[in-house]
């Protein structure tokens, strides 16, 4: 599912931004292979790492072509979020369990809603950055977000990420 989402995100973006097509396509291909490998091995960080790789390819392409802002960025961001979420879900589903249809339906609806919200936020930010003063406000907001994000990373590094409670038995864990 993660791979499908990555492809969907790529298609969504590659259409309206032809200038960045080659670099991002290369990054996307590498990320897709990495994501496939990570999902096959069951690596939890495979989704975010693939997203980071594609994001880096986008940054390089944008810097190379001197593109500051494109209308495709919100769509691309939404696609990346969808890819990361679907990769996480696919890993979650690999644990054998008797699921109920409602669990998956609700999660799918939630996923669509979150992706839509994220894309909408991207659109709002893109539009806001076109206004000079609003761009300054967005920069301040980004700075606050940066501080918050770094603080969160530092807190997680301090507390440790591994849950300490009893894990599920081997029979109920993911099997390759």
């Amino acid at each position: 599912m993660g791979l499908v989402a990555a492809m969907a995100g790529a298609l969504a973006w590659l259409g309206p931004a032809p200038a960045l097509r080659v670099e991002v396509a290369v990054g996307l291909a590498v990320a897709t292979v990495g994501l496939a490998l990570g999902l096959w091995l069951g690596v939890a960080a495979a989704g975010p790492m693939a997203v980071a790789l594609v994001g880096a390819a986008f940054a390089v392409a944008a810097a190379h072509h001197g593109v500051l802002l494109t209308a495709a960025a919100p769509l691309f961001g939404g696609g990346l979020l969808l890819a990361a979420e679907l990769a996480d879900w696919s890993l979650d589903l690999r644990r054998p369990a008797r699921g109920r249809g409602a669990v998956h339906e609700r999660h799918a609806i939630w996923l669509v809603a979150v992706t839509g919200l994220g894309t909408a936020l991207g659109v709002v930010l893109t539009l806001a950055m076109a206004v000079p003063l609003a761009g300054m406000a967005a920069a301040v907001l980004g700075l606050v977000g940066l501080v918050g994000g770094l603080g969160l990373v530092a807190w997680l590094a301090g507390t440790g990420r591994v849950p300490r409670g009893p894990d599920l038995p081997r029979a109920a864990r993911r099997s390759r």
Partner: protein
């Protein structure tokens, strides 16, 4: 419940921070737009994380069952708050298998299912693959919030033990003991006295009851004769289980066959009002003094459930067995795969002490894969010769021995032993 952030939270936070940092440093606002959805998810998800307070109880439909029978396991889940994704897994021993899927549930607890009086119930059907005292551990829970940023884990409930009784082998006949005891039972004793089965006639002596007089013989011989009858007594039967070693392939091994036959023998002898005792002779010595009745049969079967092969290098002889476990004139039926010299030594010692002994060899050779290369074939031959020598030692000591393997009727070794014992009686001393 124990709460911990998931790797996803760290990854999203790092992605957001890196994207925003790169946007500021490189002057690329598009990067900030790219990571904005991830930041939005963090902003929405972090304040919503709260302990769902989930508790789950697994209840077995029965605490005793037979090997191969199904048992229902009902899992009841309660929560204080709604849970987006909840995994409920029941740790099962390998002898218990869940039918129609894994022993884990993936649930969502909605607002309507929340509260102390509400409980989601799910039933799993378990199949008991092997006998034994099987422990079902407390239920493991793993709950995640909507955003998957936090995970709660817990183990709730209590450990339960399911006692799975072995399915006894089908037996149509039992071994007859050479000597009986003093209590009344269903065995015909050699001694004569009050009974039903006719034994002999003898001349009348003062004190004989008139109803015992055999009038036909008395009329023919001209003096009174009385009938004599066999006493009906019970016997002491000791079931000797060699648990030093076993041969096993997959789900079945010599110990499983042994336990099934011992279970059938115990049931048969208890039904004949014999006193049945049990000796588990192996790495761990287990014993049960002889007793009779259905309650004692249950004790024997319960004791069998704890039988297991425990590796031990300590030399063990008959002297470690409590004397009351081996009453005089008891018939000892030993079941052994003939894999350990200590058990064979104990059997020879029993014979030397004058016990009425019969040995059923639970054949381990059926559980050994066929040798393929020359080295394996040579080792296989040596092993077979070694086993032949052990059998010969027992036979030379006058111990009846019969082989029994998987798929063979359980009556077969008993019939062979009975024939051996009849042949022994015919041989002049």
């Amino acid at each position: 419940m124990d709460r911990a952030p998931t790797p996803k939270l760290g990854a999203y936070a790092a992605l957001t921070a890196a994207g925003l940092l790169a946007a500021l440093v490189l002057g690329q606002p598009a990067l900030a737009v790219l990571v904005a959805p991830f930041g939005l998810l963090l902003a929405l998800g972090l304040p919503q994380a709260r302990d769902p307070g989930v508790e789950a109880v697994a209840t077995l439909g029965a605490d005793r069952t037979m090997e191969g029978d199904p048992v229902t396991l009902t899992v009841t889940v309660r929560a204080r708050h709604p849970v987006a994704r909840l995994e409920v897994a029941v740790p099962l021993p390998p002898e218990l298998e869940a039918e129609d899927g894994p022993p884990a549930l993936r649930l969502r607890i909605g607002r309507g299912d929340v509260g102390p009086e509400h409980g989601l119930e799910r039933a799993l059907t378990l199949r008991c693959r092997r006998w034994g005292a099987l422990g079902v551990e407390p239920v493991r829970l793993r709950a995640r919030d909507h955003f998957g940023f936090h995970e709660w884990r817990a183990a709730t409930g209590r450990r339960q033990v399911l006692r799975v009784y072995p399915r006894p082998a089908q037996l149509h006949s039992l071994l007859l003991p050479n000597q009986t005891q003093v209590h009344s039972g269903n065995q015909l004793a050699r001694q004569r006295g009050d009974g039903i089965e006719f034994a002999d006639i003898r001349p009348f002596v003062p004190g004989d009851r008139v109803r015992r007089v055999n009038w036909r013989v008395s009329a023919r011989r001209g003096q009174p004769y009385v009938n004599q009858h066999h006493l009906e007594r019970n016997a002491d039967v000791i079931l000797f289980v060699d648990s030093f070693a076993e041969a096993r392939t997959g789900r079945e091994g010599t110990l499983d066959l042994t336990v099934r036959l011992v279970s059938a023998l115990a049931a048969g002898h208890v039904a004949r009002r014999d006193r049945v005792g049990l000796i588990g002779f192996g790495g761990i010595l287990r014993w049960l003094s002889p007793g009779m009745g259905p309650v004692h049969l249950l004790r024997v079967v319960e004791a069998l459930l704890d039988t297991e092969v425990v590796l031990s290098y300590a030399w063990k002889g008959l002297d470690i067995i409590p004397p009351r476990t081996l009453p005089p004139q008891a018939m000892v039926v030993a079941l052994t795969p003939l894999l350990d010299a200590r058990a064979i030594g104990a059997l020879l010692d029993l014979r030397a002490r004058g016990f009425d002994l019969a040995v059923v060899e639970v054949d381990p050779e059926r559980f050994v894969p066929p040798a393929t290369d020359p080295g394996d074939r040579l080792a296989d031959r040596v092993w077979h010769l070694h086993r032949e020598a052990r059998r010969a030692r027992l036979a030379e000591a006058g111990i009846p021995i019969a082989r029994w393997g998987p798929g063979e009727p359980a009556d077969q070794p008993l019939t062979e032993i009975a024939a051996f014992r009849r042949a022994l009686r015919r041989v002049p001393a």
